[in-house]
Symmetry: C2
C-alpha cells in the first residue's frame, strides 16, 4: 500500500511530489498519458515562453519547465508511472485507484489533474495554437507579439470581458466576438466593456477560421444572423469561454462547486473526504497560474504529511 | 501617486512585482535595507542550498534564487528602492508609506515583509548559522549532512515536537532541548514525543554554546537546575521556538491574529482594509515555504489588479 498517490503532473503535482519525496513518504505519481487532452506535464506543455514563473529572468518554455520539474521529482525519489487514472474508489480505506489494468491502494491521494481550457472548433485553430492563439490573457497578453496590435477575444461572459479589458492595456484594439446579441456578463462588466473605447463588440458572431501561415494574422468571422462573413486582421486570438476541471474520473465522489471544481477547505488543500487532497487548477478557477498551482502542491504535500501523522 | 507599492522583497514580493509589472501597473517595490534583520531578498538570503523550489532539479542557493527573482522583477519593469519602511498611514486614501526621508502615496499596497525565525543567543551560533544550524526542519532536514546523524532541536511547543518528529525520519537520533521540566506542546504532541524511541528529551536544559570549526559538530548543554554542563555531539541544531512576523511598521493598523500574523480572507490576500493586501510569511504561519510565498505573491498581484478595476 502506498502512503500517497499523486494524480496529475503539472506544477501542482510535481511540487507535491518534490515535497512528499523529501519528507520520506515515497510517493507514487500517476502522471497521465495524454490525460485531459494534453501530454504529461499538463497545460504548460501546450504553451511557449513563460515569463512570469519566478526564478527565470530569461523566461523558460512551458515544456522545458515541466521537464525540469519532472527531473526534480525523480531526483528527490518520486516514482512516476505514465498511466491515466480511469476511476477511483474513495468509499473505504485504503483508497483504490484504477489506471488501465492496474489497481493501486493508498492511504492518501493528492488530486492535481488540472483543468482544460474550453475551445471552439475553428478551421486552422489547432495548427496556429500558441502561434497567436491562446486561452490565457494574463499568461500571454504581455508578450511582444501582441503589443499595439489588434486582438480578438471569443466569449460573452464575465471572464471574456475581463480578459478583453485586460488586453486593452497592451493591444491597439480588442474585438470581442459574442455569439448572441447580448453579453452574458454581469451588469458591471457589461458596462465596462461597452464603455471601453478600445473594445469593439461583434454581436451575433462566430469565428469560423483562423488565418495565417506561421503565425495567426486574422480570422474569418461569420454573422450568424445575416450569414455574412468578414475578415478581421489581428495578431492574437484568445479563447475566453471558460475552463473545465478534469474530474470525470472521480465520478462524483468528491464535493465540487456548481462548475465542477473540487471544493477545498480555504487555506488548505483538504477536500470533503479526509485523506484526499486537491491542488492546482482542479480546485482553483480564480488564479490558475503555474506559480499558484505549485504553491498549492506544496500545501497538499504538507497537509498529507500532517494527516499521516495524525492517523499514526 | 503609485498604483501599487510592494513592501518586501522575498519570493512573495518579487512574484507580486513580476505579475503587477506584466499587468502594466508600474509597481514600486521598497525592498528594505536589512529589514527584519536580513538582507533584501528575505530569509532565503540566509540559507544555502534549496532543493525544493520547483524548476531547479540541481538545486539553487537561496541568495542566487533571490537574485534571479530580482532580475526578473526589474526586467518586467518593476522599480525597486532599497529603503526600509518605517511606518504607514492607512487611515485615508491614498495610503501613505514612509521610508527614511521619503513619503510615497499609493492606491494599493502589497505587504510581503515576511517573518523572522526566533533564535536564542548561543555562543558561536551566528558563526555556524547555516553550517549545521537552521530554523527550518522541513526546508533543511533532508539535506545529506543531517542523514543518520544525531540532531538537536531547541523548543518545547507543538512546532518543536513536530520538527523533532519530522527529523527522526532522517536522523539517527534527535535531542529535544526543553527549557523547563514540561513540554508546552499539546497533549497529543507530548505523547508523540515521549513515545518516539528516536527522541530523547533533555529537560531543564539550555544550549549555551555551539561547537565546530567549519561545520556544527555539537553543543554545550547546561542543566539549568543543577548547573551541570554536558557536551552533546550532533550534526545539526534546529531552532524551533517560533517565528515573528515583520509587522512592527504597521503599528496595529491591520487586523492580525493572536500571534501577530496579518489576517487575510481565506483563499485571497485581502486584509481587513480594502486596497491593502498581504502575501508570504507575514500572513502564513502554517506553510512558510518559498514556493507557497511565491504563489501567494501572484495572488496578491491578481487581487490588486481586480481591486483597481473595481474602483475604476
Amino acid at each position: 500500500m502506498e502512503n500517497v498517490i499523486i494524480i496529475g503532473s503539472g506544477p501542482a503535482g510535481h511540487t507535491a511530489a518534490i515535497y512528499t519525496s523529501r519528507a520520506n513518504l515515497n510517493p507514487l505519481m500517476l502522471e497521465g498519458m495524454f490525460a485531459g487532452g494534453v501530454a504529461a506535464g499538463g497545460q504548460l506543455t501546450t504553451t511557449t515562453e513563460i515569463e512570469n514563473f519566478p526564478g527565470f529572468p530569461e523566461g523558460i518554455s512551458g515544456p522545458e519547465l515541466m521537464q525540469t520539474m519532472r527531473e526534480q521529482s525523480v531526483k528527490c525519489g518520486c516514482r512516476i508511472e505514465t498511466l491515466t487514472v480511469d476511476k477511483v474508489d474513495f468509499s473505504a480505506h485504503p483508497f483504490k485507484i484504477f489506471a488501465g489494468s492496474q489497481m493501486y491502494e493508498s492511504k492518501t491521494v493528492i488530486i492535481a489533474t488540472g483543468a482544460t481550457a474550453k475551445k471552439i472548433e475553428i478551421q486552422n485553430g489547432d495548427r496556429l495554437w500558441q502561434r497567436g492563439i491562446s486561452a490565457c490573457a494574463v499568461c500571454d497578453g504581455a508578450l511582444p507579439c501582441f503589443r499595439n496590435k489588434p486582438l480578438i477575444v471569443i466569449g460573452g461572459g464575465d471572464s471574456a470581458v475581463e480578459e478583453a479589458t485586460y488586453l486593452t492595456k497592451f493591444a491597439a484594439k480588442v474585438y470581442l466576438v459574442v455569439r448572441r446579441d447580448v453579453l452574458r456578463a454581469s451588469q458591471v462588466m457589461r458596462q465596462r466593456a461597452l464603455a471601453n473605447p478600445k473594445i469593439e463588440i461583434l454581436w451575433n458572431s462566430n469565428v469560423t477560421e483562423a488565418l495565417g501561415e506561421k503565425m495567426f494574422s486574422g480570422a474569418v468571422i461569420l454573422n450568424n444572423q445575416t450569414q455574412a462573413t468578414r475578415i478581421v486582421d489581428a495578431s492574437g486570438l484568445f479563447f475566453a469561454i471558460g475552463h473545465a476541471p478534469n474530474t470525470a474520473f472521480l465520478n462524483g465522489q468528491l464535493k465540487t462547486d456548481e462548475t465542477g471544481y473540487i471544493m477545498t477547505l480555504p487555506g488548505t488543500t483538504q477536500t470533503n473526504l479526509p485523506g484526499v487532497f486537491a491542488c492546482g487548477d482542479v480546485q482553483d478557477k480564480k488564479y490558475r497560474q503555474a506559480i499558484t498551482a505549485a504553491g498549492s502542491g506544496c500545501m497538499a504535500a504538507l497537509n498529507v504529511e500532517q494527516y499521516l501523522h495524525e492517523i499514526g
